[in-house]
């Protein structure tokens, strides 16, 4: 695994020793770590697209963990947050979860548990991102279709044969076949099944 590929985890905690030890643990487990001593420092230093997970202390001097989480939400930063809480902070953690935190872990914790949480958070973020990307590319491909191609695609997905489509639209079967081939090409689908999967629930629409 090269340095560039190793996922970046942000750590924000105001306890120097805890922050340093967490960096050590995460680096020992193959992550890159950027650690900040306060919410304010983090907001100055982070790059929205670089980090894949944020490990955040609930209780901090200055802006608290909860406040930082809300600030990130306000900025629409898509970064899963794993909260670290102390003794008796459970109500705060529940509050964090309701605000959309990925999960929380109580201090002192088992390293396996934390690492598993971070891995899950990163995975979930990646899944969400690829789903997002796929949806975006499909939308782009659909936008590249002409009106006629769109009409034909909708009917193909609805399971109509070329003959029926040609009759409905008052064009020749040959023309339908040409349009259909162009749709498959533009959408990047090599089979009807692939096309249906890609367009998914949109199938019946329009």
């Amino acid at each position: 695994m090269s340095a560039v590929e190793r996922p970046l985890v942000y750590v924000v905690d105001d306890d120097d020793a805890f922050r340093d030890s967490l960096r050590w643990l995460l680096e020992s487990s193959g992550y890159r770590v950027e650690a900040y001593e306060s919410a304010e420092r983090f907001l100055d230093g982070y790059r929205a697209d670089a980090g894949e997970c944020l490990v955040l202390d609930v209780r901090m001097h200055g802006k608290t963990g909860l406040e930082l989480q809300q600030e990130l939400r306000r900025r629409a930063v898509n970064l899963p947050v794993v909260f670290v809480t102390g003794h008796g902070d459970v109500p705060m953690a529940v509050h964090a979860l309701k605000n959309g935190a990925f999960d929380f872990i109580e201090k002192p914790f088992n390293d396996e548990a934390l690492l598993a949480l971070i891995a899950k958070a990163i995975e979930a973020r990646a899944a969400a991102q690829s789903e997002d990307a796929r949806r975006q590319s499909t939308a782009a491909k659909l936008a590249s279709l002409t009106a006629r191609e769109r009409e034909i695609m909708d009917r193909v997905i609805a399971g109509k044969r070329n003959k029926v489509i040609a009759d409905e639209l008052g064009i020749s079967v040959k023309t339908v076949e040409i349009h259909r081939g162009r749709v498959m090409e533009k959408m990047g689908a090599d089979s009807l099944a692939a096309l249906m999967h890609m367009v998914g629930t949109r199938g019946g629409a329009s």
């Binding site: 306890d15 020793a17 030890s21 020992s28 102390g86 201090k107």
Partner: protein, 473 residues
Amino acid sequence: MRNAALHTLSAVDARLPRLTAPWSFVLCVALIVAIAGLDYLTGHELSLSILYLAPVFLAAWRLGRDAGIAVSMMAAVTWLVSVVFMGLEYSHPFYYFWDAAITFLTFMLFARVIARLKTALDHADERFVTVLEGLDSAVFVTDARGALLYGNEQFYRSAEAGDALLEAVSHPVHGAGAMMDAALQRGAREGEFHDAERRRWYLVRSRSIRWVDGRTVRLHRANDITERKLAEEYARQQQEKLQTTARLVSVGEMATTLAHELNQPLAAIANYTMGCVRRLKSGNANTAELLDALDKTALQAERAGHIIQRVRSLVTKREPVFTDCDINAVIRGVVALMDTEMEVSGVALDVDLDSALPPVRADPVMLEQVLLNLAKNALEAMRDSAAPRALQIRSSRTNDATVEVAVKDSGHGLPADFEQRMATPFYTTKPSGMGLGLHICRSIVEAHAGRLWAVRNPEGGATLRFALPLNAS
């Protein structure tokens, strides 16, 4: 001006008759007539013209230059008339007028000098008095018998306080003077005086001076220091309150805070060691890095140790100081401390004290801590229970040898296994508690050769009791 002037002015004035301006003028005229009569009776061989200087002086001093000149004129004319009546004959009538003119001029010069002198003295005195009257301090002078000779505006401003001050410095042993600081009574220069009736504090400085008439008198300066005194008192009370609060939070709550702190080094230790384990397992361990991490681990263990030491020093902060202690007084003290909290939480408090309790050999501060903890626990146990919430604190003598205190609440009661688990530190029925408070209470009671236990009330809630032996040593 209410005050008699100081210095020369007051010395001269003191010797002059105290009359208003018109009456002074009348007196001058009367004097002139009298002197003229006397001069006439004694005959021309005995000249009494020098006596006219008296009314001239009086007029010039009291009524000013013009009045002085007018009186001089009258005196000269009267003198001339008396001379004519006496039948004194000059070789030429011109000499009458010459003598009269010289007499008038002499009188007039005298009047002018006196008036001028009076004005100069007045001005000097006015400056002096203006400064004195403008002072924030009350300045006053008393003679050996304590009679007031002078007091400035500030002294008179509060006439009653002035009287009290005068009383204080005049009769140091009796009356208000008894309140005077001992230092001042011994004739020293400075002392504080508390006017209890008006609740004011004064800083009085006092010294001997030579008065205008040569007597030795006392000059006093009194500053109202009530505001400063109040501020000092306020600061002292705040400090006391702070100390009390520190004592209130010291046991259970402090332990909880420290446990929070303990989490930090413990979590750090776990992280460092597990990081080392992971690196060693994966085979990419760098010795220098590992050593560094292990060093940091040891530091964190030390940090945890310090925190634990703080808990320990908190619990065994001091050796018990045994005195003959009135348990009821301790209970009343705690009730006073918890008053607001009870009111806020809507708890009805019932304090039932056996007034015939003998004193117990105990450390009152430690007993206060125990009672506070029990009372706070009781309040917390009732936080979520329905009204009516009732807290009862009772003291009683159970037999010849034991005094017992019971703290009874109507809260959520005790779990089934409470008796066994109460002995364990860190056992708690509170969501945010650490389970140290009661454990420490029990240690304190046992240090007094006593016993602490809990019972379930048949009607709900719990009663915590502790018993102390009467003959403990």
